[in-house]
């Protein structure tokens, strides 16, 4: 019944609009003018609309900055992240200036120079000087943006320090596994053909470097102020390890190892105090479409002091010992 009524309503609405247009057309033809000619009145009205849209655009901008500005990510919790944020602010400063300037000029001219029958546009086909100005100035500004950007990029991507902690981030549909390199700080060998339900990472059982590796699910613990080098792998499709609070991200690609390193600077406890949210948690999420449950592939990250971290790690069983107990069973 409701469906039927909806259909009736739609048909009636279409008919109504049709008749409105028809009435409008008849009224126009009675007045003796072609209905689609653009009159001075139209131009004047639309000029006002242009001004209105400018107000809308700027008003909406301010409203959003006000409303959403506080909902963005909290301050960066890594060394390079602080720099990225500065770079972001710098770029945004330029963008806002250009945005306000160009949108203002566009809509202001659109408002100011609306057509009038007795008016005539000026014939101004080109000006080498003006064109030079708006080629050279953007070029200079972009050069600055490029230089600052690449400086930060080079810093982020330079090789990790030798003493950084090595952690593998292993992804599959639809969860994350972390593997700490252990005392020798070298990840043991693995092979995808060895993967079984109890050996999710396909670890090579008798590999020497692998014996002290520590495999963890659900929670990734990181020591504060210590550089961590992540090595990313995937067993099935491409995933992307996204650490928004640390301004870090890297794809996990099957068949190859990708890397990213950063130094966390704020512990979870400190961040909870800073944000005033005692449930705050750092998080690792998947940011590359990877299947039906892509939207729920996450891992909690806990940044803690080195003592806490060492204590937590020491309670975990290394791969060799875990395998041995499994065999004994």
């Amino acid at each position: 019944m409701i469906k039927f009524l909806v259909y009736v309503a739609i048909i009636l609405a279409v008919l109504a609009v049709g008749y409105l247009v028809r009435v409008f057309e008849l009224a126009q033809s009675l007045k003796g003018k072609r209905s689609e000619e653009i009159t001075d009145k139209d131009n004047q009205n639309m000029a006002k609309v242009m001004l209105g849209l400018l107000v809308f655009l700027f008003g909406f901008t301010i409203w959003q900055l006000n409303e959403y500005g506080s909902k963005l990510l909290p301050e960066a919790a890594s060394i390079h992240g602080v720099e990225t944020d500065k770079l972001l602010d710098f770029n945004f400063a330029i963008i806002w200036i250009v945005f306000v300037l160009t949108q203002f000029l566009l809509f202001w001219f659109a408002y100011k120079y609306y057509g009038r029958k007795n008016n005539r546009a000026s014939y101004f086909p080109h000006s080498n000087k003006l064109e030079m100005i708006w080629t050279v100035i953007p070029a200079i500004v972009l050069a600055v943006i490029i230089i600052f950007g690449l400086k930060t990029w080079n810093k982020i991507t330079e090789p990790a320090a030798a003493e950084s902690t090595i952690v593998q981030i292993y992804s599959k549909q639809f969860d994350w596994t972390a593997r700490y390199a252990g005392k020798d700080n070298v990840l043991g060998e693995s092979n995808y053909k060895l993967i079984t339900a109890s050996n999710e990472l396909g670890m090579v059982a008798d590999n020497k470097e692998g014996q002290d590796d520590i495999i963890v699910k659900n929670e990734l613990h990181l020591p504060v102020n210590k550089e961590v080098e992540f090595k990313f792998n995937s067993r099935d499709v491409i995933h992307s390890a996204y650490f928004p609070h640390f301004r870090a991200q890297m794809n996990c690609v099957p068949g190859m190892t990708t890397m990213f390193h950063f130094t966390p600077t704020i512990t979870t406890a400190e961040m909870r105090a800073k944000t005033g949210n005692d449930k705050f948690d750092y998080i690792l999420l998947c940011n590359k479409i990877c299947g039906n449950s892509h939207y729920n592939m996450q891992m909690t990250i806990i940044v803690e002091t080195e003592e806490e971290y060492n204590k937590w790690l020491s309670e975990k069983k290394p791969f060799g010992a875990a395998a041995a107990t499994a065999e004994a069973k």
């Binding site: 653009i38 242009m50 909406f60 000026s122 000006s127 990313f232 190859m256 948690d281 039906n292």
Partner: protein
């Protein structure tokens, strides 16, 4: 009776031939398998309008889910049935399929096939003074391949496992492995078949456009007297011809990996409880091939829109387009640069950081010709005598969104910043504004402006005004807030954010976006009604309703074979002599000879 011959016929002969025989064409050759560029143009346009409506409905369905996750909507159950919309709740797999097909249809069917197909076909012969395309037959094939491709793409909704659902970029291994998800089964095969047909269509069209522009210009129509529309279509066609074959190869290799056990893109994969045999391939190879098309593709989309806008802004500001030669230079620079920036889609794939730096540099360079274009548009408005047709409103809207969206590109081009916003809603916001909304605005502007040439009638201006105002507001309303979502770290292509407490405070942003999306969709009803109604009931248009200079307005208001009843027009000047001092009318058509001592091309004495 091939179209090719018309270009070579001498004009009188052609004319006579036409009058004597009065051969009535069968309706099949006249309206269905037509080789006339005007009919093909209308076929492309109407197909694109239908596809755009479908893609828009898809977007509303997934926007409902994003704003009110878990809420029941009768319309979702009604449209998607119990399998994908049980109790009115959208299935997560179908969510991704909708996102994927929405993107594919919009990017390829609407804004590539639809936009270029409609306006290149309509305007190239008209504006260069040709009787038709170089090859009417290839042109016809181009449309029918496009049609077939569109039908196959949408038909995937009718199969058991549903359409492709790995995102419009269909990255392997996700798209290569039927075990990975339902959408990588038959739906993905259909996607690849549809895309291959689409590429064939695009190549047939593109080659035709290039050959026609180079060879069939009428007497006096030198390259530097071409309207900017034609320049834009020309560079667009070249981009398409150079890049689409690469996508075809990417698709073919993917078909091989999917069906014949090769390992171009696959290596060391364990899925569905078994280790696959394939080793040695690289999923990243696909991304290189895909984006080698994919980035030029966004310019294939936006350049025609900018070309249409150049013409519309100049005609309606009653001023020459500012910096005609700089505009041509910018189009060429953008076209060239578009081929060496594809890596900026791949900064975080583990690419060598130095290579990343190179792509940062080339990508940011594109901002220079883009800035030149934006400033030239603004200067064209300065001291104009602006006539506000609906087309002009959309053209100005395009300049606004092109600037807004282009500016956020600076962030994404900067590899250090891309790390943070890559694949978040910031990207969604950026590309929708700069190429989605802008190109749609350009296309709508084109439809309003050239409607009299397409359907010989005029559209209703008041409905056009309402359409523009609502569309402009809702376009910004939808995509502007998405920047904030992106900066808050919300990933794109998430079915639901409720599993993440960190996004809890962003729920009302998504509600606002969806409300604007619904408003925007409803606004299109004004357009659709106007579009179809005016075809039959709109007031008949006079020959040159906008007082334009270009050649299409020298043809009679009747869709005749060969475009001009008599000899082809001869061109004596550039197309932008609006409000030229010393001449009473505020426009001088290209067919008017130069007065004594008058300089062409906006030259001063």
């Amino acid at each position: 009776m091939s179209m090719e011959n018309h270009g070579h016929h001498n004009h009188e002969g052609h004319h006579a031939h036409h009058d004597e025989h009065h051969h009535e064409e069968h309706w099949v050759t006249k309206y269905v398998f037509s080789m006339d560029h005007k009919v093909i143009s209308r076929q492309f346009l109407i197909t694109a309008v239908i596809m755009a409506v479908l893609a828009m409905i898809m977007s509303i369905l997934f926007r409902l889910q994003l704003a009110w996750p878990g809420e029941k909507f009768a319309i979702i159950n009604y449209l998607l049935g119990d399998k994908w919309g049980k109790d009115g709740i959208l299935d997560p797999g179908m969510y991704m399929a909708l996102v994927t097909i929405h993107g594919t249809v919009m990017v390829f069917m609407v804004l590539t096939g639809g936009l270029s197909g409609t306006f290149s076909n309509l305007l190239i012969p008209y504006q260069i003074g040709a009787r038709d395309m170089a090859s009417g037959f290839l042109n016809m094939l181009s449309y029918w391949f496009f049609f077939l491709s569109s039908v196959i793409m949408v038909s995937a909704f009718l199969i058991e496992t549903g359409p492709a659902s790995g995102g419009w970029t269909v990255y392997p291994p996700l798209s290569a492995l039927p075990q990975a998800m339902e959408g990588s089964k038959l739906g993905m095969t259909l996607w690849l078949v549809s895309m291959s047909l689409f590429i064939v269509s695009s190549l047939l069209g593109g080659l035709n456009y290039i050959v026609t522009i180079l060879n069939l210009r009428t007497k006096g129509m030198s390259m530097t007297r071409l309207p900017l529309t034609i320049w834009a279509f020309f560079v667009t066609a070249i981009l398409g011809v150079l890049s689409f074959p690469v996508l075809l190869s990417a698709a073919l290799l993917l078909i091989f990996d999917r069906s014949f056990g090769t390992s171009f893109y696959l290596s060391d994969i364990y899925i569905g409880g078994q280790a696959l045999e394939q080793t040695g391939g690289s999923p990243i190879l696909y991304q290189h091939l895909f984006w080698f098309l994919g980035h030029p593709e966004v310019y294939i989309i936006i350049l025609p829109a900018l070309g249409l806008t150049s013409e519309i802004i100049s005609v309606n500001a009653r001023k020459p387009i500012f910096g005609y030669r700089a505009m041509i230079g910018s189009i060429m620079a953008i076209g060239f640069l578009s081929f060496i920036v594809w890596g900026h889609h791949m900064y975080i794939t583990g690419m060598n950081p130095f290579l990343g730096s190179v792509f940062v540099f080339t990508t940011l360079l594109i901002a220079i010709p883009s800035a030149v274009k934006a400033f030239n548009y603004i200067t064209t408005l300065w001291k104009g005598n602006i006539r506000y047709t609906p087309a002009m409103l959309f053209a100005i809207g395009l300049v606004s969104t092109f600037i807004s969206g282009g500016l956020t590109g600076i962030i994404l081009a900067d590899s250090a910043l891309d790390i943070q916003v890559h694949d978040t809603y910031f990207v969604v916001a950026h590309f929708h504004i700069v190429m989605g909304v802008s190109a749609i605005f350009g296309m709508l502007a084109g439809v309003y402006h050239w409607y009299p040439k397409l359907f010989l009638r005029q559209m209703n201006k008041k409905l056009g005004y309402i359409h523009f105002i609502l569309t402009f507001i809702s376009a910004y309303g939808v995509f502007y807030p998405m920047h904030f979502l992106g900066l808050a770290g919300v990933p794109r292509r998430y079915y639901d954010n409720t599993a993440f407490p960190m996004f809890d405070n962003l729920v009302d942003v998504n509600v606002l976006i969806t409300l604007f999306a619904i408003l925007g969709a409803l606004a299109q009803v004004f357009f659709l009604f106007n579009f179809f109604y005016s075809m039959f009931r709109g007031p008949k248009s006079e020959q040159n309703p906008w007082g334009s200079n270009t050649l299409e307005w020298t043809t009679p208001m009747a869709n005749i074979h060969g475009n001009w009843p008599g000899p082809l027009p001869e061109v004596h000047r550039w197309p932008y002599d609006y409000s030229k001092p010393g001449v009473e009318a505020d426009y001088i058509m290209q067919t008017v000879p130069l007065a004594e001592g008058e300089l062409d091309g906006g030259g001063h004495h």
